[in-house]
């Protein structure tokens, strides 16, 4: 623009960027240009703006940040000249999006330009508004745009119409204001205006029922006539595309007729003739014609039943499906999915062709075809279709196997006529694509297997054979080791042979080999290894003759780098070695898993919402993804609950406790022993690794059952005292006794026991007050229970309230969860229990630093303080 300007021209900048050999070089050039542009922006010379913005747009396209140029757009838009406005609006649309606040500043300029005397300036403003307006701008400028729909020049009318579609999309409430203006556009002859007018009507119909009724009553016949006119019109070079007059207008009209005819028999009747005409007369050798046919078929399928038309539509789709053009086949598959809804039989006729499409080299077509096939499956054809799909699974691309195997599994699960068939098919899928199969699928398979008691032998033998060949398929291996663990005896003794089976000879050693293989393979993941270890424990009882070998394998895992494996190995080893008397009862056959319950849980995303006992939602910290397995555990734990009430219950638990004490002394300073005990118990009954939260709840369940039975053996007391999930202390022997004492007493006793200490105000600010009341558990002078009460003194509610505290080394502090994390305004209270253990009891007093965080009106507030006024002698 400016001949005196020192900066490079746009052309030169593009050249120098293109000349760059490396990305670093390009960044250098861009950085320098950006610096120049910034400097130029700071000089505020209006002559350079145009060029600066053009450069910035190019830089923006390369992916560099250009936000500093946003204000330049606004300045250019506000300047009087057309060239400046033109580039300004272009920059606005490219550099900003509707979510930026800067955009609001442009509303006023837009308003002025919408009223400009030059129609091209009005056009620029409409275009910008139509492409990026926000809801707020839409509201502000809707009256201007509505007026412009009636503007004398068609160029403005069409732009205003499309701008209105954006406005009503952003603010559906405004729709009714546009109904009249939009209907006037339908009478236009100018194709651009007509196309945009029809589009606006379509938009209004989809968001506003009144508009739909209005256009249906007033415009259906007119639209049909317009469609007939252009369908029958003589050759018009301006609008002709491959022999079709204005396919774009055709398509828009068919689309609008679709919403008008849908759900209204009268309107549908009116359009039958013209739809039949379009469906039969449109040339289908070029893409444009097929685009129109496609839209026409879609309209025929959406409007009210006119069966002769639907036959026509299905025939067109059949032709599409056998077309050589991939695009046409793709849309055919897409449309056939909708056609199934009203004519399943007609679509079934194309089954063979559709199955071929599943094997197409084109991923897009494969995906569509697979979706369609899964809709075509029913009880009658499931066996044949599944066979085809599984055959293809063997040879398909690796990256398609995930989708394909998921679909096969869902088909098999849904339509399987009998269990043996289901199991067979699932084994095939696991063998071919086991590494892609999702957890819930193989969990479901295990549930089905446990329920098919007559097939246990058959299944475990089939799995054994499969895993020998496909040992790299992780989920196959998992199911196999679970089944071998459970049904290993059936495997080696050929129990429950079916007529179709060939007898096989598997020794106990062979069976264990498979599991040893899984546990030692370096690429087995944690879940597989954990399952293998549990299977070994089971087999040590099922195969007594080789239990020594199994013990060795278990022992080896003591050196595992995975903590979970290490711990289990030690526990299992002590069961094998020292508790032979209970081993067989511990690893008895799993009770049959309840299919119905499993399915309900699988369907519900949150296991917690459907469990019979209120359990916290499960999160497993050590990376074992075993949610449904934990569900299995739930089912199992019903049986645990039954155990203590039976005659052997107390002994059983005592024995277990013995095991724990043994193991906890073996690993010095590990998890508290009673906790490990419950872990162990639950683990044996389950196949996954439950989370600590899970343990503790189960432990509480145990406790409550024990109470009901009035069964107060010491062992149970000890076990129950581990119930609260928050034992932070390490298991040094002394500490453990403290712990037991501290916890076994109930809070009501605490209140009456020991000397009374006066409550204190620990902290007070203008908005918050904290009071502490104290109590001592009997028999343990070192420990103090503190009940903290937080009082909101302000008129605002506190949310996300968190209290944190720190103590010196001679103290140990434990925080229970607070009663709530929200403090209502004006005196709202939250309480939280703290437990402080003073190892220097009698020598030093308590002291504490604390920090409180909460939100007021969404703002974070932090308060800190030190508490020195604890009563002496705590």
């Amino acid at each position: 623009m400016n001949p005196f300007s020192s900066s490079t021209r746009l052309r030169d900048m593009i050249r120098s960027i293109r000349a760059c050999k490396t990305a670093a070089e390009e960044r250098g050039v861009v950085r320098k240009e950006c610096a120049d542009i910034r400097a130029s922006i700071n000089e505020n010379d209006p002559h350079d703006r145009h060029r600066n913005l053009a450069k910035l747009m190019f830089i923006h396209m390369l992916g560099y940040p250009t936000h500093f140029g946003q204000m330049e757009c606004l300045k250019l838009i506000a300047s009087p000249g057309f060239p400046e406005k033109r580039i300004g609006y272009l920059g606005l649309m490219l550099l900003l999006d509707e979510r930026q606040e800067v955009l609001m500043l442009v509303t006023n300029s837009l308003k002025q330009d919408l009223n400009h005397t030059n129609q091209y300036v009005v056009g620029l403003a409409l275009c910008a508004l139509g492409n990026i307006c926000s809801a707020e701008m839409a509201r502000d400028l809707a009256p201007e745009v509505e007026r412009l729909i009636q503007f004398r020049d068609p160029n403005i009318r069409k732009k205003a119409a499309l701008c209105s579609t954006r406005i009503v999309r952003k603010v559906p409430d405004l729709a009714e204001n546009f109904i009249n203006a939009a209907s006037s556009l339908l009478k236009e002859k100018h194709h651009g205006v007509l196309i945009t007018g029809v589009q606006l009507c379509y938009e209004l119909c989809t968001i506003n029922d009144e508009a739909l009724e209005f256009f249906r009553k007033k415009c259906t016949e007119g639209l049909i006539k317009t469609l007939r006119d252009i369908t029958n019109s003589a050759y018009q070079p301006e609008y002709d595309v491959a022999g079709i007059t204005d396919p774009f207008l055709h398509i828009r009209l068919l689309k609008l007729l679709r919403v008008l005819g849908h759900g209204d028999a009268d309107a549908s009747d009116l359009m039958t003739d013209i739809l039949a005409q379009v469906a039969t007369k449109t040339e289908s050798n070029k893409n444009a014609g097929n685009a129109v046919l496609y839209e026409c078929v879609e309209t025929i399928m959406a409007i009210e039943d006119t069966s002769s038309l639907r036959v026509l539509a299905i025939n067109i789709l059949g032709r599409f499906l056998s077309n050589r053009d991939n695009n046409i086949r793709y849309v055919a598959l897409n449309m056939l999915m909708k056609a199934i809804a009203f004519d399943d039989q007609a679509v079934q006729r194309h089954r063979v062709t559709i199955l071929e499409c599943v094997k197409d080299p084109d991923a897009s077509i494969r995906k569509r075809a697979l979706e369609l096939v899964s809709l075509l499956v029913n009880e009658n054809n499931v066996k044949q279709l599944t066979k085809e799909l599984i055959d293809y699974l063997e040879i398909s691309d690796e990256d398609f196997k995930e989708d394909l195997s998921a679909k096969i599994c869902s088909i098999v699960e849904k339509f399987s006529p009998e269990k043996i068939w289901y199991i067979d098919q699932m084994l095939k899928v696991l063998s071919e694509a086991g590494k892609f199969v999702k957890d819930d699928v193989w969990h479901a398979l295990i549930v089905v297997i446990t329920n098919a008691s007559e097939l246990h032998g058959y299944t475990v033998r089939a799995l054994y054979n499969a895993v020998l060949t496909y040992s790299e398929q992780e989920t196959l291996v998992r199911v196999a080791i679970w089944c071998i663990g459970e049904y290993g005896d059936l495997l080696v003794n050929n129990v429950g042979m079916l007529g179709i089976e060939d007898p096989i000879t598997v020794t106990e050693c062979d069976a264990v080999d498979v599991i040893v293989d899984a546990i030692t393979r370096h690429n087995s993941d944690m879940t597989t290894k954990a399952m293998a270890l549990v299977a070994l424990l089971k087999l040590s009882s099922r195969f007594p003759s080789i239990s020594e070998r199994i013990k060795d394998v278990i022992l080896k895992q003591k050196g595992s780098l995975l903590l979970e494996m290490q711990q289990r190995a030690i526990e299992f080893n002590s069961i094998v070695e020292r508790h032979k008397n209970i081993r067989s009862s511990l690893v008895e056959r799993m009770p049959v898993l309840d299919e119905a319950t499993f399915n309900v849980r699988r369907a519900g995303s949150l296991p917690a919402s459907v469990t019979t006992m209120a359990k916290p939602s499960v999160s497993i910290p050590n990376g074992v993804s075993a949610a449904p397995l934990v569900d299995l555990l739930d089912l199992g734990s019903d049986d645990i609950l039954a155990a203590p009430s039976s005659s052997s219950g107390a002994d059983f638990l005592q024995d277990l406790l013995g095991v724990d004490l043994g193991s906890s002394s073996a690993q010095s300073g590990a998890t508290p022993a009673p906790k490990a005990g419950t872990d162990l118990l639950l683990d044996i009954l389950s196949i996954g690794t439950p989370s600590p939260a899970q343990n503790s709840t189960s432990a509480i369940d145990l406790l409550s059952t024990a109470d009901m039975n009035n069964n107060s053996s010491t062992a149970l007391d000890t076990l129950s005292s581990s119930a609260p999930p928050h034992i932070a202390t390490t298991a040094s022997a002394g500490g453990m006794f403290d712990l037991l004492d501290g916890l076994s007493t109930s809070p009501s006793k605490e209140a009456t026991n020991g000397p009374a200490y006066p409550p204190i105000v620990a902290y007070e600010s203008s908005s918050l007050k904290i009071e502490f009341t104290f109590s001592k558990p009997s028999g343990n002078p070192q420990t103090t229970n503190v009940e903290a009460t937080f009082i909101n003194l302000s008129p605002n509610t506190f949310t996300d309230f968190v209290f944190q505290a720190a103590v010196p080394k001679f103290l140990q502090l434990h925080l229970d969860p607070a009663s709530s994390n929200t403090l209502p305004a004006n005196g709202g209270k939250v309480t939280q229990n703290l437990r402080v253990t003073n190892s220097q009891h009698g020598k030093k007093s308590l002291v504490m630093r604390m920090r409180i965080g909460y939100k007021v009106n969404g703002k974070d507030v932090l308060e800190e303080g030190q508490i020195n006024n604890f009563p002496r002698g705590l």
Binding site: G81, L90, D97, C127, T165, G192, F248, N287, N327, S364
Partner: protein
């Protein structure tokens, strides 16, 4: 509705981007990266549609450039192919057998033409002639303004 238009060269260089739905700067670069990866790697003779994040991307290659438009899953893919072709024809007429270099050095012109073809992600004009006429009318206004500015600055230059 068309959500965005992308022009990407065979080397993966972006030649034009137009966004009709709100995407942040970050999302935009991510979308471009993701899609050009998918589309440039597709073999010839495959269909021109890619399913992506619940949308469909219709693309067509002209010489060294891929023209891509992202639409809703239920939109008419075949029509979008026609829209792409319509745009290419208009560009071709405007530049006189258009090539990638034209679109690099005159990228703003490619945008102006697109703005006469699409607004709010919907087609606005089915006549190539009409688009050409409106564009040339605006180009003339720019030329006229340039001349005027040129002459004034010429006078100032003379005076100083």
């Amino acid at each position: 509705q068309i959500h965005f238009v992308l022009l990407v060269s065979r080397q993966g260089k972006v030649r034009l981007t137009k966004w009709y739905s709100p995407y942040t700067q970050k999302e935009r670069s991510k979308v471009i990266r993701e899609l050009s990866g998918v589309i440039l790697n597709r073999g010839p003779k495959l269909c021109n549609f890619v399913e992506w994040r619940g949308y469909k991307v219709v693309y067509k290659r002209y010489a060294s450039l891929y023209f891509c438009m992202c639409i809703d899953a239920e939109d008419n893919e075949l029509e979008v192919l026609e829209i792409i072709h319509h745009y290419v024809e208009i560009l071709d007429r405007y530049f006189g057998s258009v090539c990638e270099l034209d679109l690099i050095f005159n990228f703003h012109k490619a945008y102006y033409i697109l703005d006469e073809l699409l607004i709010a992600g919907e087609i606005q004009e089915s006549s190539k002639k009409t688009v050409a006429r409106i564009i040339s009318a605006q180009d003339q206004m720019v030329e006229a303004a340039k001349e005027e500015a040129g002459s004034i600055s010429y006078i100032i230059a003379q005076a100083s």
